[in-house]
Symmetry: D2
Subunit: 322 residues, 4 copies
């Protein structure tokens, strides 16, 4: 069994990690650290876990674990990392090591299995991708692999409220967000850097511009993103490119029909829908932002790092399309 | 024109007051006080008012107004009240003077026009009713008037999120409240006192018990309440009792058909639906918690206090049933 | 492996059965019958199952199965039942055999495991309970067992939209139901008969009245119900009664704290919250209407009928509290 | 008073017309025609109007009216139009006469006041614009006026459920649409023709491409659209261009700050938010699809046709931002 620790145990991504790992056949949830809720039973914070787990939040890491998931807010991981013994593997869910890859002699691999599977398998430190980055990169990577990204890329995408974390803000107040929708960080979302950096890993001569309009949606979970760019290939040829690329990647599916967000909610899937209109290829991409966009992907990375089946704990998730 | 001031200008009820009074034919919104947003244009906080009002928040009451609406949180009105000249009329939207009627030599009338119209007309200080109290009392008062409340009263009611104000809490976080529902303060909601006290004004020998289950609903606005109690009268007789009671009250309507919450949203109406099952009379009641349950009723009270048409500024509200 | 068939395969409950049984360790989904979608791949209707199942809808039952789930609309099961060989076990999710227990020489057991576990284990035909009935009975049965139901029972409950099925109606049109709430069938809901009949199985002298106010909520899944009645026992004594009753029932949990609907969504759990106010015991009950209130309970019944672990396929469901 | 008739009286746009015109100072709602609901009181269908209107649906147009609003489904107006006397003015809310301008010797003007005010004033027949077209054109027209549209235009936009009408479809079933989001008609929405045709009226040499991604949102009302294209001017210069263009148009506002959909709900406003990122001008546009995108704009057109204040019946709408 893999002995697992979680730090920052009260937030959304930690909760999802625990929910997923309770049913993981090769994992023992050893310790969940939360300074704010130290001593409380986990199911007093993650109240749906009543009857599923009987463990209290710890104050510090005082036992050995094989891997430690960092579920702290952006910018907080570096400080915590200093105190962690070097032999403990790290999977960081913040943005802190997605761009800066080396810190305290730890080398972080960008944990998108559909891009870096072989490196993840050998790595000891993972920078888990952002949710928008995951949805968007998965809609683009097959083109990058073939060096086909030679024109502007246009993206609009809509995120659920859990994407911004559990902390109260003006934009996640129910009375405001209910029935509302708004843009934010137009062309300037911080995930753009992550996206560009990782496209370049597959297509070194990528000089195109990415125009990205993010929206805040009035739903709790999920991201839908729509990307389009020029393509000289037919729809069928493009589908072939995508299917080949994802041949060995169990969580990415290509749909022949229009898709809607709820097809992936509560799963680790990414479903892509391709369409060709004249010279433009359009790719719609949907993920659950908390699973494939965060905690599920983190577990997928852990599985790879420990050389067990990539789908353990993730394959049998019951989707919830209503 | 009535010169109006509002204190506590950034919250939901203040926003609704301003929205309603902009179109009131006899009102001039003279001053809106907010210490936290002092100096900002009102439409930077109430952003939908862009183009509708060009006024800044004031820091203090430094001009004469005919009436001042208190839109502060519960418990804060008393402190502020001390500084207000005695010749300024007060309409307080908090719960502070609903039970304690006399404070600093000011005598507060409970501002439910369907109960106290003649007293309101002569009063200088109004304690505006709570939202649950309004919905529930309007479903009960005709029976109290006829001294017919001689048995237990059972109530369930569901409130929208704006009922708990603008401040961030665990229960108005979008990710939590979306698609959720929960009970709270079972049999102990603070509005029960208000309800009982005002029933007794019509039926002195009221000794029955009221059992009230409040729910938090996953919608922004509105309250639906369902009351039942014994009745020896037929449905038609009961309808007659209710119609007679509300004959001179323009905002209460009796529906002959099943009702749903959105029939009253964005209006000052209360719609009642009566039903008789064996010996039980059931009365379903719906209001917009921010209008008939707060700011609309406050304006209705102001209209009465200034001896102008009770419906000014409230009659022509466009409902929004979708 | 249990060979399973489903008839009426396009609706919500059939979809949930399939989602649950895909991951059931002892089940093979042998045949899914739908006359309207005959020949189509199942994942064209239940689109979230893309990549999870590769099976087409059948037109008729033309293979042997060990058990057949009936997911037809109310009133349609009887006609279909005539054509089914007597050696095939039946689990009917409609209301058709909940009151009328014997049909075509088949004897139906009411499939509430927390009431009838030993009979279910020996039965060949199950009438799966209604969703409201499940939530409500589970909040009442421990009292019936102790013959403590000697006073009126008052219930309010709110259901999600999936409770009324997939067919288009005025009340499940998005534009109407979104942000709306309404009562229906006040004191006359058809599940009352089911509830009373099954209380009497535990407490023969049950003559009290049940007053039940059902509401349509603006969420897709789940039921919350609140019941209160007189009790001479303390809160702790009542909790003891409930805990004893559910000692051997793995899906019913007693919470010591306030509960909210999303604690059980996408699980087969029922969580109860008990509270005592003066002489009244209050029990709040929450279930996922499509799982514990329908398809999950149907699988629980199947597990019992085939003498395998009651929790197979149901224990490891990842809840979705956001 | 303008004597008004409405044909197709049970749908969403007819309901909104009635709600708006009840409070219009110069209108008498003379007749509302519905063949399906002939003889019923209007407030049995538009149930929120209880107490506001006491008029029954008519079967046919059997009285003289000054203007008749057509609120029929797309494709049905032509047939009905044949029976209407030529002296009655027509405002058609379908798409039937937006492209084909002449029918039965009637010449239809595209009823976007911010484009065609002077023609509308002189016209007898109006083709009321589509909701997407309204939101999008208002974000583009000032550039067309200055002949500045010389590059590709990229648009994403999200619509509420009322945009697709009252009729039941798979995509407006509550259980499906709640918490969901999806694309549709990518690059092929029927409003593109309307948009291009009307841009060309201001900029004859418009040869650029418009790429439009429409989304179905999980809210009832409203449209948010985001447009971007190249601009050689600064943000301030662009704002000036927009402010000049809308100088005489009371319903279009330019916001200096980020906007969100609920700023315009239940109003006839369109609020625009401009932003410049490098060489791209971005314009976010929000409207209420049923008011500025349909019935409110229809009344604005009527006001112009009858040479009365353009804002009558539309100016004092209470917005509902929660």
């Amino acid at each position: 069994m893999i002995e697992v620790g979680v730090i920052g145990g009260t937030g959304y991504t930690a909760g999802e990690l625990i929910r997923l790992m309770i049913n993981h056949p090769k994992v023992n949830i050893n310790t969940v650290i939360s300074r704010s809720s130290f001593g409380k039973n986990i199911n007093l914070i993650h109240k749906d876990l009543l009857g599923d787990i009987d463990l209290k939040f710890s104050k510090d890491l005082n036992v050995y674990v094989d891997v430690l998931f960092f579920c702290l807010g952006h910018g907080k991981s570096k400080k915590e990392l200093k105190n962690i013994p070097k032999n403990i593997k790290i999977i960081d869910l913040s943005e802190d090591f997605r761009i800066t890859e080396i810190f305290e002699k730890r080398h972080f691999i960008y944990g998108l299995p559909e891009l870096n599977k072989k490196y993840i398998k050998e790595s000891k430190n993972i920078a888990n991708p952002g949710c928008f980055s995951t949805a968007i990169l998965l809609s683009i990577l097959p083109l990058a692999k073939k060096k086909l990204l030679n024109n502007n890329i246009h993206i609009s995408a809509i995120t659920g409220s859990t994407g911004s974390g559990k902390k109260c803000t003006n934009t996640n107040n129910f009375s405001w967000r209910n029935n509302n929708i708004s843009t934010y960080k137009i062309f300037q979302h911080q995930h753009l850097k992550e996206i560009e950096k990782n496209i370049i890993k597959l297509q070194k001569n990528f000089y195109s511009k990415i125009y990205f309009i993010p929206y805040r949606g009035n739903f709790s979970r999920g991201i839908i993103s729509t990307m389009y760019t020029n393509s000289i290939f037919s729809l069928e040829e493009n589908k072939k490119i995508y299917k080949e690329y994802y041949y060995n990647h169990p969580f990415v599916k290509i749909s022949d029909f229009d898709i809607d967000l709820k097809q992936v909610i509560n799963t680790n899937k990414c479903i892509l829908y391709l369409r060709k209109e004249k010279n433009k290829l359009i790719v719609v991409s949907i993920i659950d932002n908390l699973i494939k966009g965060a905690s599920g992907q983190a577990i997928q990375n852990m599985n790879l790092m420990f050389n067990i089946d990539e789908t353990y704990g993730l394959k049998n998730l019951k989707s919830i399309c209503f």
